[in-house]
Symmetry: C2
Subunit: 425 residues, 2 copies
Amino acid sequence: MSPARRSSATTGNLLYAQSGGVTAVINATAAGVIEAARARGVKVYAARNGILGALREDLIDTTKETASAIAALRHTPGGAFGSCRYKLKSLEDNRAEYERLIEVFRAHDIRWFLYNGGNDSADTALKLSRIGKTLGYDIRCIGVPKTVDNDLAVTDCCPGFGSVAKYTAISTLEASLDVASMAETSTKVFILEVMGRHAGWIAAAAGLAGEGPDAAPHIILFPENAFDEAAFLARVKATVERVGWCTVVASEGVRNAAGQFLAEAGTRDAFGHAQLGGVAPVLAALVKEKLGYKYHWAVPDYLQRSARHAASKVDADQAFAVGRAAVDYALAGMNAVMPVIVRSADAPYRWKIEPAPLAKIANREKKMPKSFITRDGFGITAAARRYLSPLIRGEAPLPYGKNGLPNYVRLKNTAVTARLPAFKP
Amino acid sequence: MSPARRSSATTGNLLYAQSGGVTAVINATAAGVIEAARARGVKVYAARNGILGALREDLIDTTKETASAIAALRHTPGGAFGSCRYKLKSLEDNRAEYERLIEVFRAHDIRWFLYNGGNDSADTALKLSRIGKTLGYDIRCIGVPKTVDNDLAVTDCCPGFGSVAKYTAISTLEASLDVASMAETSTKVFILEVMGRHAGWIAAAAGLAGEGPDAAPHIILFPENAFDEAAFLARVKATVERVGWCTVVASEGVRNAAGQFLAEAGTRDAFGHAQLGGVAPVLAALVKEKLGYKYHWAVPDYLQRSARHAASKVDADQAFAVGRAAVDYALAGMNAVMPVIVRSADAPYRWKIEPAPLAKIANREKKMPKSFITRDGFGITAAARRYLSPLIRGEAPLPYGKNGLPNYVRLKNTAVTARLPAFKP
């Protein structure tokens, strides 16, 4: 950093908040933030339950945590300070909330705000980075990337994705070994439903489990393609006849030609409501009805995004690195930026962290390239493998206790004494 | 072994077969069998797809596999030689199949038969152990325990169970950390459905994830108790109000007071069929309908029983040990026995392998003791923890490749040349 980029704000406190769906490694980012700030002598507050804690002046004093507790965040899944799904409205629509945030920042001498989340959070950080000047308060806002959806713009990949990708590839491989051994007299079709409402990144990662026409997964269903029932059933049938069994990985966001989620178009629960999050049972029923094969289906749901026990080392390292970089950028006086991951080589994989303007990231969505899906629509291409494969490499260290469970840390999360009147977001 | 117990059958080949649902560690048993037999200079054939391969004379020559491939079975899930769900009828009902088996044994000089499975397989091994004498063929039959259901009699626990128990406890812990961090604005109730049609062993293991009224899982639903909707909903509500969120672990075999599986009583698919394997979505719909809470549910299905990446070291060690002991018993001339796990101490946990008569195991089912379920029906007792806790201890070694995936082995599975006419089981 050149001295010219340094801000006058060299004193004050740093506020860190987690936002949106949590991941297996978002706390590694928190560890990166807190360890880097401690090394620079800067106090870190964390907002309890994301931006809501900042609005409510419900702040956590991270200086009350031991160095070993903070280090243990590197291997603890979930959001250690709480997260939230809460999108700030625009400045015009809800100026009061922005003013409140500045008020809270001022009351606790917060000069740096690090917001760890996805597209929406990048937008919030961007808005806050601008409002400080309007309201006459010197605040630097840094977005810190996080999302299992891998849909942030600019960054090559998103911390959180590599681990869910690894979990999904391992699970696909393992369950397929199971099905292969049972297929003669039992299950012939296994359907694994994975997260991904709008983009098939996680479903694509399942493709890393095997390569070649006979290797599982035999069929991947992406939200990028309209579901073609006839083509799907024909492929299932051909696979069972050739291989003896068939593993299907389906993105939760698979839609029919009319644009409806398959999960909603099919099953209704006991009360007649459309069932959500259940494309796997819908596909299974279809396979049973039309082809008569015995099936099993799995929906790991939260298990996939919290599976720190199967995390990727590359992902955990990147999550830590963006946290540390965010502090560097903030203390160097940068504003309205996000530390992003830049890939310099596929093989051997090389990456580095660089700052990118939040304006290029906020509210944008990175789609999976069409070139990642095979022409038949059911698999991933060599280009997809080149991109995905490095992201699941290495096993992130995880200490286990004598009880056979991972040693996950629970922080004290001591509240900072409030100084302002209550505020209801 | 005393020399007096030695059989005259000191030459000949050994046949090993896998039966029923496979596990994360059944191949560790195969490794134990093959390594022990190789050390004693005995050739091992494996039946392809369990007893079906024996009936069809579809045998695999394991001497074609390298020592390192056999060693890799110790960490490879699924059934390396194929398994099947096929129960031999009684001798009276289908004498032809027994005669065929003896014919195959005779054709390949098979003097020892090791059948790796659950209750049904113990029954088959027992029947075969008797028929040899009737048909004038000297064969020693050993049952080798395996089942994630943990329902075999005599043995303290079943190889395969400890690993699914560990996977379930870890997954419950991890997903609960996720839910805890999101609960304020998102999911308040998380429901994890686990295997266990008749007994709640796996559901009980989820209880190891936490202890105390506020720790997840907050509610466990066992097949041992009729589902009490009002009590369940009251407990969910009280937990959400007190803790902020609630993790429920439900055994797939939960039934209502009328004895119907809840999974079948509720959801119907797009074709109007009752959905199987879906107690979690039924419970989720109930929570939504009656309490209005946002929910998520997960059904890991085969992922749980194939999750070698999260296997218990105790379980993997026991799986290997029963395989080795089975060879020792067979070569010592024992017949109609099973190597079972005997617990000599809870803490520190100590176990050993001993032979037990198949007659005491075949077709029996070990229930979970009533003393393992708390009086309110929603949790596990200290006695359950004492029993379960040692079984998930230690992490079984697992080599990963540079590609970030476990190095699972795929055997050559070279067929032995058939010598008999074809037979259709």
